[in-house]
């Protein structure tokens, strides 16, 4: 086991996969010489050279499309879109092309590609550099959507994403990049589509992704002092969703609070809430609640920015109100 930051865990996953499989290559804006603006691709250019670590022009549609084209012809591209906000520019290639090919072509074509996207608030980067757009991607059959919250999960899931034969969007919460955690020295993977119970509890299930996992864990500590035992679940994959783990937890606790940075309307929580009430209605002792980002663009001012996404305090308050 080694202690490393999430950004380093991602970096080592990329490095090891590139060493293991010659078909794996990295492309994106400033991923080469500069090492990625968040440092995820640091050192790869030096080790693997400009042919396998490609600094692209600022052309998101072409980055995503080039990944699709390379993937269907035998390579395993890992593309970086600098901020999830700019995935909008790549959406045709991702949604209409990559996600559809296997199905449309009768199951004869695989598109083994990964698009990595930093997402979320916390850096005063304002409305066009702070969004949480995972619901857009969860809505598309044919895509897989992964969203780790710890260094251990990040490394194991990125390896699985790279080895997967389908297009995977890999969402990295910017605020978690510097978070440290234990990561095994040996090769390991974490299966896509498998949730993780981050804390066991009896009274209420908190379902959270990204940085909200850490907020939920803090809230769970505080709630414990007040006699409320929280189970915290990180789905880790947002498509496909591991409902078995989630439903089992809700059957045990009878209460569900979904915690997300994404804004509320038609966000990920709507999917969770709808399916859980369908499958576990009889076990619920309270309405399922969503503790979500507000339905506004992300403001620049740091105090305003903080108010529009959930805080530990808000989680504690809203969960307490369920009892």
């Amino acid at each position: 086991m080694a202690q490393m930051k999430l950004v380093e865990a991602l970096n080592s996953a990329l490095r090891e996969e590139m060493e293991r499989d010659e078909r794996v290559f990295v492309l994106g804006e400033d991923v080469g010489l500069y090492g990625g603006i968040f440092g995820v691709t640091q050192g790869l250019y030096k080790q693997f050279g400009p042919e396998r670590v490609i600094d692209t022009p600022i052309s998101e549609a072409a980055i995503a499309g080039a990944a699709v084209g390379a993937a269907v012809t035998g390579m395993r591209p890992v593309a970086e879109i600098m901020f999830i906000d700019f995935i909008t520019i790549a959406m045709d290639q991702l949604v209409n092309q990559a996600a559809k090919m296997c199905y449309m072509f009768g199951g004869n074509v695989s598109v083994p590609m990964v698009i990595r996207v930093p997402a979320g608030t916390g850096r005063s980067a304002a409305a066009q550099h702070s969004q949480s757009l995972e619901a857009w991607l969860m809505h598309i059959p044919g895509l897989k959507v992964v969203c780790p919250s710890t260094p251990y999960d990040a490394k194991g899931l990125l390896k699985s994403a790279i080895r997967d034969d389908n297009p995977v969007v890999f969402i990295e919460n910017k605020i978690t990049y510097n978070l440290s955690g234990e990561v095994p020295d040996e090769d390991y993977t974490i299966p896509i589509g498998k949730a993780d119970i981050k804390r066991e509890g009896q009274d209420v299930t908190l379902l959270a992704t990204g940085n909200m996992v850490h907020y939920s864990l803090k809230a769970a500590d505080e709630l414990q002092q007040e006699g409320i035992s929280c189970e915290v679940i990180d789905p880790r994959t947002l498509r496909p969703i591991d409902y078995e783990t989630i439903i089992n937890s809700v059957v045990k606790t009878s209460r569900l609070a979904i915690v997300q940075e994404a804004c509320r309307t038609a966000g990920p929580g709507c999917e969770f809430a709808a399916t859980v009430q369908e499958r576990a209605f009889d076990y619920l002792d309270a309405p399922i609640i969503q503790i979500a980002g507000m339905d506004v663009p992300i403001p620049f001012n740091p105090k305003l920015e903080k108010t529009v996404v959930p805080s530990v305090e808000q989680i504690v308050r809203e969960v307490k109100a369920l009892f």
């Binding site: 400033d30 600022i58 549609a61 700019f86 304002a126 506004v296 403001p299 620049f300 305003l304």
Partner: protein
């Protein structure tokens, strides 16, 4: 000093305003007074200044993430700009936009932009609107060399060309998209060459020469106003600072310090001072006096920003939809 009264003095004051405004940002950013990202324009002042010199207040511009210079040259209010950078209630966007999103539609500033290439179609649409409204307005669309690789650039210029729209695409070729040198992001040296593909005129000029910028953009503006359609004016220039203030060692990871020094020798302001001295009898004293005057404006703007209140928290929930305007 207004453009009409004394254009040379306006050039000088405007470039200095941009320079001193941004030198102040270096300081307040380092002291943690300004959150978020600060992409500085130092070294490129002649482009915005020369280009905006050709515009009427009713004309439009679209700007970029590196937008302070455009905003100042188009007549933006220094107090409201600085307050916005500080995230204050009195800022242009009530503290909700920050450095990358300053807009003032009352003087034709249709917005800085956090999306590279995001302003190019908007400028094209503003020009379309002017044509439909027969308003005789033109639009200047500012963007960088690397933005010319976005689909939005190609789609917009083709559109504008076909419909003969009154828009001038001003490329600020500072040779880098973050860390990627132009030679590694496109296989041409002159982006203006791309004009050929769209059947319009393209021109390359020295972007550190405010007079050359003004002449070339002025001709393109005249053409656009008379219904002859769009042009590309490419201004060769250089950014002195890192991509943004947080860029380690001001971009030394991907730039030779010697290159930066060489470009500093081509400072657009020093160059214009030389011209004013030799051709218009300016002296070091006049420069000093102007500098002191502008410096005071900047200090006032910082004081205004610093002493302004933070926005109330409910401001975060307002303005998702239009409620009739706030000014």
């Amino acid at each position: 000093m207004s453009k009409k009264e004394n254009l040379n003095q306006w050039f000088y004051e405007t470039m200095l305003k941009i320079r001193l405004f941004e030198e102040k940002i270096i300081d307040v950013y380092a002291r943690g007074l300004m959150p978020g990202l600060a992409h500085l324009y130092i070294g490129e002042e002649a482009v915005a200044t020369g280009a905006c010199a050709t515009l009427e207040p009713s004309d439009y511009i679209t700007s970029t993430h590196r937008g302070h210079g455009h905003c100042i040259a188009k007549g933006g209010d220094l107090n409201k700009m600085m307050a916005e950078l500080f995230g204050k209630k009195t800022g242009y966007c009530r503290g909700k936009g920050g450095s990358m999103h300053i807009a003032d539609t009352s003087i034709g500033i249709l917005g800085a932009n956090g999306v590279v290439g995001g302003g190019i179609p908007i400028a094209t649409g503003a020009a379309l609107s002017s044509k439909l409204r027969k308003s005789n307005q033109v639009t200047i669309c500012f963007f960088g060399d690397a933005a010319s690789n976005q689909g939005s650039f190609h789609e917009s210029i083709n559109f504008a060309s076909v419909h003969k729209l009154p828009v001038i695409y001003v490329v600020e070729n500072n040779q880098f998209g973050i860390s990627v040198h132009q030679s590694r992001h496109q296989n041409i040296q002159d982006i203006a060459d791309r004009a050929v593909a769209y059947g319009i005129e393209g021109k390359v000029i020295d972007g550190n020469d405010v007079l050359a910028v003004k002449d070339a953009v002025g001709q393109a503006v005249a053409k656009a106003r008379s219904g002859e359609g769009p042009s590309i004016i490419e201004c060769k220039t250089y950014r002195w600072r890192g991509h943004h203030e947080g860029d380690p060692n001001q971009g030394a990871r991907y730039r030779d310090p010697k290159e930066i020094d060489d470009w500093k020798k081509k400072c657009p302001i020093a160059r214009f001072e030389k011209y004013l001295k030799s051709e218009h009898g300016y002296t070091d004293e006049t420069f000093k006096a102007t500098r002191a005057k502008i410096q005071q404006l900047i200090e006032d703007a910082v004081e205004f920003a610093r002493s302004s209140p933070e926005p109330d928290l409910e401001v975060a929930l307002q303005d998702v939809y239009y409620e009739g305007g706030r000014n």
